[in-house]
Amino acid sequence: MAAAIFQGFGASTALSLSKSIDSKRVKLPFGRSLSERRASFVVVGSDGRLVSDSSRARKLVTNAVATKADSAASTSASKPGHELLLFEALQEGLEEEMDRDPHVCVMGEDVGHYGGSYKVTKGLAKKFGDLRVLDTPIAENSFTGMGIGAAMTGLRPIVEGMNMGFLLLAYNQISNNCGMLHYTSGGQFKIPIVIRGPGGVGRQLGAEHSQRLESYFQSIPGIQMVACSTPYNAKGLMKAAIRSDNPVILFEHVLLYNLKERIPDEEYVLSLEEAEMVRPGEHVTILTYSRMRYHVMQAAKTLVNKGYDPEVIDIRSLKPFDLYTIGNSVKKTHRVLIVEECMRTGGIGASLTAAINENFHDYLDAPIVCLSSQDVPTPYAGTLEEWTVVQPAQIVTAVEQLCQ
């Protein structure tokens, strides 16, 4: 009998979870029917015991961006799994895959001896050598192109953009070659490359370092895009991306690298095309990803106190969308709120709105509401910057209006 699946409630340190995996459905490939998936969840309370009463489940509390050490420290000693920060989870996933397959290699600026600007590649150069963890000159077009050439020749490179915004310089290679060459060569050459890096609005990094590349890349045929948001899904998605034969762009967020969570000791790989049910509910479907997940969960706290029951889904897969999970949710709640960090024009939210309208129009009781950043470059001043990003208060207001 397959082990039950525990779903997380955000990477809050107030909650420590143990997750065991149904070994039969470690990875769901494209196109396979998702009927093996369960719709129901088992909730784990902060004391580690199973909670079967759904009303108690609603009182579970999560933090937006976890920073404090948690009270579960006393129980952590008895729990399986190990605690780590998100960037360490990425590194663990990367290291495991490099151990497993000698073709996996890393290239990027300062990834080698410096360990990467966000320390995701720390220690790897020492362990695997200079040739497998390659420091590149400042030429994003060049080293992305290099990665593509290496991938076509049989390696499985992971290209790190120091900041996602810098990958705009590599856009030509990503669009015209990475996405295209498998197709135009008639399937003769494949490109199993992973392109990853931190993006999103940080803390006063300036307009050029606050880009949301997922909006620009979403149209490129031939690539897949995923966004991680917790240490658990960061490691799982990293491993899945490396094992995929398609080019995958893994979006990390500058502000989420220090999230702490307890993740399983056993090996696990997540599906690239699946969304994550963060909090089941009945009244409204809130779709979000990356950092906005935490703003949503913070708003959920307030909403729950006001008597609402939001269903929160971290869409994780930005291209393609997991319309199965999303559709089931829409059919249940009939109201959709999308919370994203992208600009209003041409962002992930815009595409998601279109996709849901097209596919689930009959199930909607109200027009889809999409909360996004304004169409402005991110200002440097802290107060201004804060107001270009969707805040929990706005999310609460939007839900209240939607549920009237």
Binding site: L134, N141, F143, M146, I148, G149, A151, N177, Q188
Partner: protein, 393 residues
């Protein structure tokens, strides 16, 4: 303590390094214009078989270019790019390489594929985009690719293949293979950022790549005087710390020797080599171009005839007694016949099926593409008269 970069001699005399050298970098050549070996020329001896094979392939390439160009003019194929004037670069460099060496072409190097065994039928199939095309009809004509022959599919974008080549060389280096990577590009391509970054990187990472620049004088209508002000491309090698040589690109023996020597250095010493092959683009940029608009017609004609690399090699093999008039006319008529036949066959083969529109975007078609294919098929069923009859559903 020395400045970063190492010890350097200091001088009280202020002098600027000139922007142009006193003398331009010398150009290596073996045969003179009449196909006779120059005195004191050092070159790798070529056997009769190899020489004759090189010549026949050059003639084949030249004939293929002429016939396919005409086919485009007749509306039988939609587009074509010739390599007229650059046959020696194409064939001789390919002859000097081994099969395991990976080739990253720009688009004016079909001769390398020809040398490795791509058949005239396979060329025709790609140009006609029929069911037998390895690219499954997805690319424009002349965007050949063959993983079997280690020739990476041509991508229209300029110079993007140069970083790919460096990445592939890095892969070979990691596997310690006895092979190198060769990448080709034109004079125009060297202006692209990808060129500079890639060659710099290859030098830093000691990657076994041979960079072959076909400096044919023109980037569509832009002459090299508007492309760069350096003494061609060869001087850039030293700027990046890369060993380089300038070669007469219309001299098959010089190309052969230099590429072979480069290969030995690239693999043996694990370093990149830059070869600038001087030549002239005797044809138009493509079938969408009429170069008489920006250069004199008599100049083009002169290069086509008086400086033709094919006839230059012919003179050499004839003087060795390895070739004859009869062999010439037999070869040309044979090749011509084969080409016309290949075109006829390719024209009749049906086009790739509609399902090939959606495969290979990913390893397995995802749900949105499967849905889109369904929608397309329904549309075709509803409006069959709008759908072309020669494309299978």
């Amino acid at each position: 303590m020395d400045f970063p970069g190492g010890k350097v001699a200091f001088t009280p005399e202020m002098s600027f390094i000139s922007e142009s050298p006193e003398e331009r970098a010398h150009c290596y050549r073996v045969l003179d214009e009449d196909g006779q070996p120059l005195a004191h020329s050092s070159f790798i001896q070529v056997s009769k078989e190899v020489a004759v094979r090189m010549y026949t392939e050059m003639v084949t390439l030249q004939t293929m270019d002429n016939i396919f160009y005409e086919a485009q003019r007749q509306g039988r194929i939609s587009f074509y790019v010739t390599s007229i004037g650059e046959e020696a670069i194409n064939i001789a460099s390919a002859a000097a390489l081994r099969f395991d060496d990976l080739v990253f072409p720009q688009y004016r190097e079909p001769g390398v594929l020809l040398w490795r065994g791509f058949t005239l039928q396979e060329f025709a199939n790609q140009c006609f985009g029929n069911r037998d095309d390895y690219g499954k009809g997805r690319q424009m004509p002349i965007h050949y690719g063959s993983n079997k022959l280690n020739y990476f599919t041509v991508s229209s974008t300029i110079a993007t293949q140069i970083p790919h080549a460096v990445g592939a060389a890095y892969s070979l280096k990691m596997d310690k293979k006895d092979a190198c990577v060769v990448t080709y590009f034109g004079d125009g391509g060297t202006s692209e950022g990808d060129f500079h970054a890639a060659i710099n990187f290859a030098a830093v990472r000691e990657a076994p790549v041979i960079f072959i620049c076909r400096n044919n004088g023109w980037a569509i209508s832009t002459p090299t005087s508007d492309q760069f002000r350096s003494d061609g491309i060869v001087v850039r090698g030293q700027a990046y710390g890369v060993r380089s040589i300038r070669v007469d690109g219309n001299d098959a023996l010089a190309m052969y020797s230099s590429v072979q020597a480069a290969r030995v250095m690239a693999i043996g010493e694990q370093r990149p080599i830059l070869i600038e092959a001087l030549t002239y683009r005797a044809g138009h940029h493509s079938t969408s171009d009429d170069s008489t608009k920006y250069r004199p017609a008599n100049e083009i004609e002169w290069w086509r005839t008086a400086r033709d690399p094919v006839s230059r090699l012919r003179k050499w093999i004839e003087s060795n007694g390895w070739w004859s008039e009869e062999a010439e006319s037999e070869l040309r008529s044979n090749v011509r016949k084969q080409l016309l036949h290949a075109i006829q066959v390719a024209e009749k083969v049906e086009k790739p099926p509609i399902s090939d529109l959606f495969t290979d975007v990913y390893d397995v078609p995802p749900s949105n593409l499967r849905e889109q294919e369904m929608v397309l098929r329904e549309t075709i069923k509803r409006y069959p008269q709008e759908y072309p009859g020669d494309v299978p559903v």
